[in-house]
C-alpha cells in the first residue's frame, strides 16, 4: 500500500463507522420500537433505548395477529412467504439449468429463437404488464394459490445466462471424456454438470430466495384471501389497514421478523451471496 498514514486511516475508520451506524439506524429503531408498548407511541417521540414489552409484542404478532385490521397471525404469513420463496428459488434454478444445458450442449433448429424468447423476460418485468398478467392468472384459476404466487415468477433469463456462462467455462474435454466413458446427455447432466454447478446453484439460491421472499406487487395483485398473504405485503396491510395511527410496536415487531430470514441468509452465506450477486449481473 502506498502511504497509508495513520491520520487518513483514522479518518477512513471514522467515516465507515458513521456510515455503518447510518445504515443500521433504521433497523435499530425498529428493534427498539418493537420492545415498547402501545402507550409509548402516544406520548411523543420514540425512546432510543429498549423497553420491556418485547416478549409480549412478538408473541402477539406471531400467534394472535390483529383481528381488527383483518391480518392473520403472521406465523401463517411467514409460512406462505417461505413456501413462495423456496418454490421460486428452486423453480428458477431447475428450469434455468435445463434451458442452459439445452442451449449450450445441443445444436438444434430454432436454438437462437428460443434464446431470444428467454432473453425477452428481462425486458418484461411484472411491473410493466400488471393488468394483463393478472388477467391471465385469473383466467387460469390461479388466484389465491401457491401456484399462482410462484410459477409465473420462475422464468428467469438472468439465471439461465449465469448457468450458460458457467457451462461455457467448463473445458470441452469434460464432455469428450464423459462421452468416451459412455455417458449420454442425461447422464452427463446428472453426473458431471450438476455436481460441477453446485457452488453456482447455491449462490443463485441465495439471491433468488431473497428475491422471492421480498416479492410485493405480485402477491398484492393475486391474493385476496388472507390465508395466502405473504409477510412483506402483510406489513403494508398493517400500516395502512386501520383508520387510526398504526400500532407501531406491533408493526415494527412484524418488520423485524419479516426482515430476519433474508438477512440471516445473507449473513451466513455472505460469500455465496456476493458471488451470486456479482455474477448474475455480469
Amino acid at each position: 500500500m502506498v502511504e497509508n498514514d495513520r491520520w487518513s486511516r483514522m479518518l477512513a475508520h471514522a467515516i465507515l463507522i458513521l456510515g455503518v451506524a447510518l445504515v443500521i439506524f433504521p433497523v435499530y429503531v425498529a428493534i427498539i420500537a418493537s420492545t415498547h408498548d402501545g402507550q409509548t407511541f402516544l406520548s411523543g417521540t420514540l425512546p432510543l433505548l429498549p423497553g420491556t414489552q418485547a416478549w409480549q409484542n412478538y408473541t402477539t404478532v406471531i400467534f394472535e395477529g390483529r383481528s381488527r385490521a383483518g391480518t392473520p397471525p403472521i406465523a401463517q404469513m411467514l409460512w406462505n412467504s417461505f413456501i413462495m420463496a423456496m418454490t421460486i428459488a428452486l423453480g428458477k434454478i431447475a428450469i434455468s439449468l435445463l434451458s442452459a444445458f439445452a442451449i449450450v450442449y445441443f445444436r438444434f433448429p430454432f436454438r437462437m429463437f428460443f434464446f431470444w424468447i428467454i432473453f425477452m423476460t428481462l425486458m418484461l418485468p411484472v411491473e410493466v404488464r400488471i393488468v394483463p398478467t393478472f388477467q391471465v392468472v385469473a383466467d387460469l384459476g390461479m388466484l389465491n394459490s401457491f401456484a399462482g404466487l410462484s410459477i409465473p415468477l420462475i422464468a428467469s433469463a438472468t439465471a439461465t445466462f449465469l448457468f450458460r456462462q458457467f457451462f461455457m467455462t467448463i473445458p470441452e474435454e469434460m464432455l469428450e471424456a464423459a462421452r468416451m466413458d459412455g455417458a449420454g446427455p442425461l447422464k452427463f447432466f446428472r453426473d458431471i454438470l450438476l455436481p460441477l454447478s453446485i457452488t453456482n446453484i447455491a449462490a443463485l439460491f441465495v439471491i433468488m430466495f431473497i428475491y422471492g421472499w421480498n416479492q410485493y406487487l405480485w402477491p398484492l395483485l393475486i391474493t385476496t384471501d388472507p390465508g395466502y398473504y405473504t409477510i412483506v405485503m402483510g406489513i403494508q396491510r398493517m400500516v395502512t389497514g386501520g383508520d387510526s395511527e398504526p400500532l407501531w410496536h406491533l408493526v415494527m415487531a412484524t418488520v423485524v421478523i419479516a426482515a430476519l430470514p433474508p438477512i440471516l441468509v445473507i449473513l451466513f452465506m455472505q460469500r455465496l451471496f456476493v458471488k451470486g450477486l456479482t455474477e448474475t449481473e455480469k
Binding site: P171, E173, E176, A177, A178, G182
Partner: protein, 351 residues
C-alpha cells in the same frame, strides 16, 4: 486389441477449413504410432476423428474389422488421454477411473478389481480416495492414464499428454509411457508437436504438415533419410542446415556437385555432420564467418553465416576453437552426408 485402418480420411469444417486432406494409414495391432507436426497441421483433428469426437467428412475408418465412421466414441472401444487430463474434478480418483466401467454396466466388484489392478500398475493406489485437485501434476497425469487403461481398450489415443508437465517430469513420464506400452502391447496413437518426444516414443512416426502425411517411418529412418524438405527441417534439433546449391557453386566444389542427382538445388546437412577439417572422402567446402557461439555443456552450437550469400548455418562443435577468431574459416561436409532436395517439389532427388 486391434489394428486401425484409415482410408482416404478428410475433414472439412463448416467454415471451409480443410484440416485433414485424404490420409491413408494402417496402424498394426500393438503398434505405437506418433503423429507429429507443427500446430495446425491436423494431427489433433485426425486423432479426434479416430476417437469419434469429430465427424468424418469423407473416407473410411476401421478399428479391427469394423467400419466405425458412424459409431459414438463410447462404442469404438478406444480410450483417450487428454492434454489437460479432463479429470472430473468432483469425483475421487477411484470414481474417475470407475465412471466409464459403471456406464457400461459393469458389476461393482468387477469394477473394484479392475480399478485396483490398474491403480497398482500406475502406482496411484494410495491416491484412490483423493480428488484430482489434491494431486500433483505428475499424479494427475497418471490418473488420466489410469482412466484410459482401466477399460483395456482396443486402442489408446493420447493427445499431447505430457505438455502440461515440467521438463524433468516430462522425460520421466515419457520413459514410463514407453515401458507401459511395451508391456501392454496396446495399439497406441500419440499426438505431439515435440519432435524429440516423437523420436523417442514411436515405433513409427507419421509426420504431418497442412493436413497431409509428409512421411511415415521408424524414427531413425525418418531422421536419417527425410523424404521431404519439410521433414528435413522439422525433425532433428538443431534444425538441419539447408543450403542453396548456387550459394556454394564455386570451382572447388564443381566435382562434388556434379555427382548430385539432377534437379538438386538444395543441400541438407545435419549440424553434427559439418566439419572443420577436410575429410578424405569426397566433400564440399565453403567459407563462413561466426555470428554466435552458444556453449550448451556436452556440446556447443556454433552459429555462422555463409560468406557467399549471407545464409545462416548452425554446426555442432566440441569446444570453442581459435579458428573462429578469424574473419572467416572453411567448413566441410562429406558427400555421403548430404541430403539432396528440389526446392519446388519439396522432395528428395535421390529416391
Amino acid at each position: 486389441m486391434s489394428s486401425i485402418r484409415i482410408h482416404n480420411l478428410s475433414k472439412v469444417y463448416a467454415d471451409g477449413t480443410h484440416a485433414v486432406k485424404g490420409i491413408d494409414l494402417t496402424i498394426r495391432d500393438g503398434e505405437f504410432i506418433v503423429l507429429v507436426g507443427p500446430s495446425g497441421c491436423g494431427k489433433s483433428t485426425l486423432l479426434r476423428m479416430i476417437a469419434g469426437l469429430e465427424t468424418i467428412t469423407t473416407g473410411d475408418l476401421y478399428i479391427g474389422e469394423q467400419r466405425v465412421n458412424q459409431l459414438e466414441p463410447a462404442q469404438r472401444d478406444i480410450a483417450m488421454v487428454f492434454q489437460n487430463y479432463a479429470l472430473y474434478p468432483h469425483m475421487t480418483v477411484y470414481q474417475n477411473m470407475a465412471y466409464g466401467l459403471k456406464n457400461r454396466g459393469w458389476q461393482k466388484s468387477a469394477i473394484e478389481e479392475r480399478v485396483r489392478k490398474t491403480a497398482q500398475m500406475l502406482e496411484i493406489e494410495h491416491h484412490l480416495t483423493r480428488k484430482p485437485k489434491a494431486l500433483s501434476g505428475g499424479q494427475r497425469q497418471r490418473v488420466a492414464m489410469g482412466r484410459a487403461l482401466v477399460r483395456e481398450p482396443a486402442a489408446f489415443l493420447l493427445d499431447e499428454p505430457l505438455s502440461n508437465l515440467d521438463a524433468k517430469l516430462r522425460v520421466q513420464m515419457r520413459v514410463e509411457i514407453k515401458q507401459l506400452q511395451r508391456r501392454l502391447q496396446t495399439t497406441s496413437l500419440y499426438v505431439t508437436h515435440d519432435q524429440l518426444e516423437a523420436m523417442t516414443l514411436g515405433d513409427r512416426l507419421v509426420v504431418l504438415n497442412q493436413g497431409q502425411i509428409e512421411q511415415v517411418g521408424a524414427p531413425l529412418e525418418v531422421y536419417q533419410r527425410p523424404e521431404t524438405l519439410f521433414v528435413a527441417s522439422f525433425i532433428g534439433s538443431p534444425n538441419m542446415n539447408l543450403i542453396p546449391v548456387q550459394a556454394i557453386n564455386h570451382p572447388l566444389n564443381q566435382a562434388a556437385l556434379a555427382t548430385l542427382p539432377q534437379q538438386t538445388d538444395i543441400l541438407g546437412v545435419r549440424p553434427d555432420k559439418l566439419l572443420l577439417q577436410p575429410p578424405t572422402t569426397p566433400h564440399i567446402q565453403f567459407e563462413c564467418s561466426m555470428t554466435l557461439f552458444e556453449p550448451a555443456g556436452a556440446e556447443s552450437h556454433l552459429y555462422m553465416r555463409l560468406c557467399s550469400d549471407e545464409h545462416n548455418l548452425v554446426m555442432r562443435v566440441e569446444s570453442m576453437s581459435e579458428l573462429f577468431q578469424q574473419p572467416s574459416f572453411t567448413v566441410y561436409a562429406e558427400i555421403q552426408h548430404l541430403h539432396p532436395f528440389n526446392q519446388s517439389s519439396g522432395k528428395r532427388t535421390d529416391s
